[in-house]
């Protein structure tokens, strides 16, 4: 992990309140697994950094692609940053999806909202390893949908929107019964979604990536913890920023 002033090489709106930000620097060469994130200091006006997951890594260009949603003043200020500006970035942070250890032939990816981006990085990595990928992507409404065509280039895609304006009306959990043939699942999104996915896919090997408000983002402050399910574990918790954000679903209590 390092702190670096990275240069913005692309920055554009891609959906409702959703932006694509591409940053160049030496950090991309240290990204080890999909699911890792960076911790961004938007400006001196904001006290805490913002964790943003890595959606793609381009090692030739030395860049990382981040997708973020405007959630408040900090992310709104981030939208004002322009190509050529430099951003104070800490990372790559966290422990991502353990792709080297995977024993899977067909993966089901389930993403909700701003939980979709890290799954794109994962999908590309799985595909490169000859693993078949299919995705269920959930959004609030048609205006919030992004990256579906990118996922389509890697495998089958099913879209769910809460208001039914695109794809299946409802949640990703409404789509899961419509698909089969997968042997492992990977999911990222709001905790309530992950909880539903975990219950529905009990018995299927999987990995989930958890979102939480963070303090330090390096594992020192204990702000973003999740209770662990293993009673043998004397710690009784996992740190989302450093032990995670990716966990096995049976490892944590959501």
């Amino acid at each position: 992990m390092q702190r670096e002033w990275m240069t913005i090489v692309a920055h554009q709106s891609i959906a409702n309140q959703t932006y694509l930000l591409e940053l160049q620097g030496s950090l991309p060469q240290f990204v080890e697994t999909p699911g890792q994130f960076v911790h961004i200091q938007v400006s001196d006006d904001f006290f805490l950094r913002r964790p943003v997951s890595i959606a793609d890594v381009d090692s030739d260009k030395g860049s990382v692609t981040l997708l973020y949603k405007v959630m408040g003043k900090g992310t709104d200020a981030l939208t004002k940053k322009q190509i050529g500006d430099k951003l104070d970035v800490l990372g790559p942070s966290g422990t991502g999806f353990p792709i080297d250890e995977l024993m899977t032939n067909k993966a089901l990816l389930i993403g909700g909202g701003i939980g979709v981006p890290p799954l794109y990085c994962l999908a590309k990595n799985l595909k490169a390893r000859g693993i078949e990928v299919m995705s269920i992507l959930g959004f609030r409404s048609r205006e919030d949908v992004f990256f579906t065509e990118k996922f389509q280039s890697l495998g089958d895609v099913h879209v769910a929107t809460n208001d039914g304006s695109m794809g299946t009306r409802g949640f990703v959990t409404d789509v899961i019964p419509q698909v089969d043939g997968y042997d492992t699942y990977f999911s990222c999104g709001p905790t309530v979604m992950l909880k539903g996915v975990k219950e529905q896919l009990k018995g299927v090997p999987g990995y989930i990536s958890i979102e939480e408000r963070m303090g330090c983002g390096v594992g020192a402050c204990f702000a973003c913890v999740v209770e662990c399910a293993d009673e043998e574990d004397t710690k009784g918790y996992r740190k989302i920023c450093s032990d995670g954000p990716v966990f096995r679903p049976e490892e944590v209590i959501l």
Binding site: L48, R213, F222
Partner: protein, 307 residues
Amino acid sequence: MIDTKVDLPGLQLKNPVMPASGCFGFGREFAQFYDLSQLGAIMIKAATATKRFGNATPRVAETASGMLNAIGLQNPGVDAIIDEELPFLEPYNTPIVANVAGSTMEDYEEVAAKLGKSTVSALELNISCPNVKEGGVQFGVDPELAYTVTKLVKEASAKPVYVKLSPNVTDIVTMAKAAEEAGADGLSMINTLTGMRIDPFTRKPIIANQTGGLSGPAIKPVAIRMIHQVYQAVNLPIIGMGGIETTDDIIEYLLAGASAVAVGSANFKNPYICKELIDQLPDALSAHQFSSVKEIIGGVHHQTTST
């Protein structure tokens, strides 16, 4: 040559900068960014008699010039800290200040007794955590309880004891005097100010615990005022803390009466902050025409207005 050394009870500091308790874990994470032996001392995360999971999440929220937190004293318990965390820090040859927390008098006594036999250089008595339901903060707002728990901890261990004062009181001087009378060796001040934020969209408090402790530059003027008051009223050395981010902040704390400082939530913003401040301090002191840290302590000039 600028002299940055400070001698406090139990703490021979090569410089007056240390990370504040609760903002630095047990040092492991920050050891990947710089050599921890550069620090004046390390104040480690609170220890309780048995392990604590702490509060529900979300535990943090941003505020103007600061943040709210309600971690709830999450820690693996004093035994695990002594067995598993202290051995990691010992090779750095930097004084360790252990933060002692509890819910009952017996808890404080047990933790202090165990840490008293460990390799830590001093104890910081946490009677001011605003984020635990029982114990904790009551000890820090009632002078009689503060006196009793300080005396108990002094008797339970031979280590110097720094009492960490809560700013959530009407009269900070009364609390400082109670600690002094009970035999405290020093004070650390201030802990966080109790605060709250509400999300206008969900209409719910942002922090699961509802309230949290406010830290960061927002609280610095409160800390400076309280240290200035206490410095004039008691004879104990003070470790100052609250929103320190620059070398001028450090000088301001020293002028108010602090003998050393602790950097808290700024570590979250910039993990290199303590090292950067330590590196910059000699030049900053000389820019202000100081040749040592010691000569600054309590050096605030009282302006008198004549009519």
